[in-house]
Symmetry: C2
Subunit: 199 residues, 2 copies
DNA sequence: CACTATTTTGTAACGCGTTACAATTATTCC
DNA sequence: GGAATAATTGTAACGCGTTACAAAATAGTG
């Protein structure tokens, strides 16, 4: 045997196990005590390691949050899929999905804040914080829904984007500009959907 | 004279002078070195007082930022007013205003971040951070523009809100979800305007 | 001037995310 | 077992926003 002496590097499965444990504990803290309770020191305590070790497994807090985003978005789109059960009309499906998407963020402002507004965590340039195939894959759900409507094929992508951006804007505005007497978010969402379908 | 002995409280004009000075220096730091450079300690140094004194004049950093928001939004809407000079057609006016609004935030991501994403500064519940009559007054600009179009009177408020929210969503998405191949923001804005006008 | 009341400041601290670096621990090979 | 190497941890620190509290400074009256 000519293997290198000394302690071996972490095995891939050990790395994954630890990362999953960290992400899992992060999610628990978040769900039990909210976003503000999710500090690195708190997380390290729950995991049973030192804060240093967190940084050995994740580049920093934003990367941890990215894992949580995946889980949260998974929930959102699972809920949407459930809402669409047995619904056939393409435009109704799109409308229900949009309503469901916006409603979720309004019902879970802490999640919204975590997913869409976490750039404040790092005092650096606004980072891309919704990267990942999984995230973009979820956006694909809306593009599929729009594609099934009467929207011309060449317009599907850009109209879907307008809708997604619009919905995010609804959630952001209602969650953050609280002293403005906004109208009903569901109605506003409908206006956006109607606009995307007919414009 | 039966005046109370001891040092008198600050006079209203002294309070205002100091607050203005703090806000002014904050804006200078922000414009020269960006949002991240705007720390309380830096600000106190520039003003020439201790960090404690900042807190004697402002409740905290968010309140200082609110002063800056007013100035930034004033710029945005002044630019919009300039763009609309000599433009008569109501729908074109709306479209240009919307384009100008979105373009501004895309050209000034640091400003966007300051105005729309500063909740991370305070580790508390998502605060209402665009309060103030001045802010809402600026939103009124869009409502007036929509009112001049063919949108039915009873629909003006809610459609304006859909547009405002949509535009904010465009800026947020383009500024933060950078690895997604978004289409042209100007085109997306046009879709939103068209949707609001015709839906 | 002394006295008084308010303002400002200094000092220290908290927890935050993060980094540097050395010591300790753990795991392998020989 | 010793040696080697990687992982983990302890200690300290940085600047951040913020707070507590006492000391120092200031601005007024008599």
């Amino acid at each position: 045997m000519t293997a290198k002496p000394g302690r071996p590097p972490r095995a891939a499965k050990d790395i994954k196990r630890m990362r999953d444990k960290i992400a899992e504990q992060a999610m628990q803290i978040f769900q039990q005590d909210g976003f503000d309770a999710l500090s690195i020191r708190r997380l390290a305590r729950e995991v049973g390691c030192s804060p240093m070790t967190i940084y050995a497994h994740f580049d920093g807090k934003p990367e941890i949050l990215r894992h949580l985003w995946g889980a949260v978005l998974g929930q959102v789109f699972a809920k949407i899929a459930e809402q669409l059960q047995g619904v056939e009309a393409p435009e109704l499906r799109l409308r229900l999905a949009a309503q469901c998407f916006v409603a979720h963020w309004l019902e879970h402002p802490d999640q919204f804040r975590m997913v869409f507004m976490s750039s404040g965590v790092v005092r650096s340039d606004v980072a891309s914080f919704m990267s990942g195939a999984a995230t973009i894959g979820h956006f694909q759900t809306f593009m599929d829904l729009v594609a099934q409507t009467s929207v011309p094929k060449g317009e599907v992508k850009i109209r879907t984007e307008a809708l997604i951006m619009g919905m995010i804007g609804v959630a952001l505005s209602c969650n953050t500009i609280r002293d403005y007497p906004w109208g009903d978010p569901a109605e506003i969402t409908d206006i956006m959907v109607a606009g995307v379908l007919r414009a």
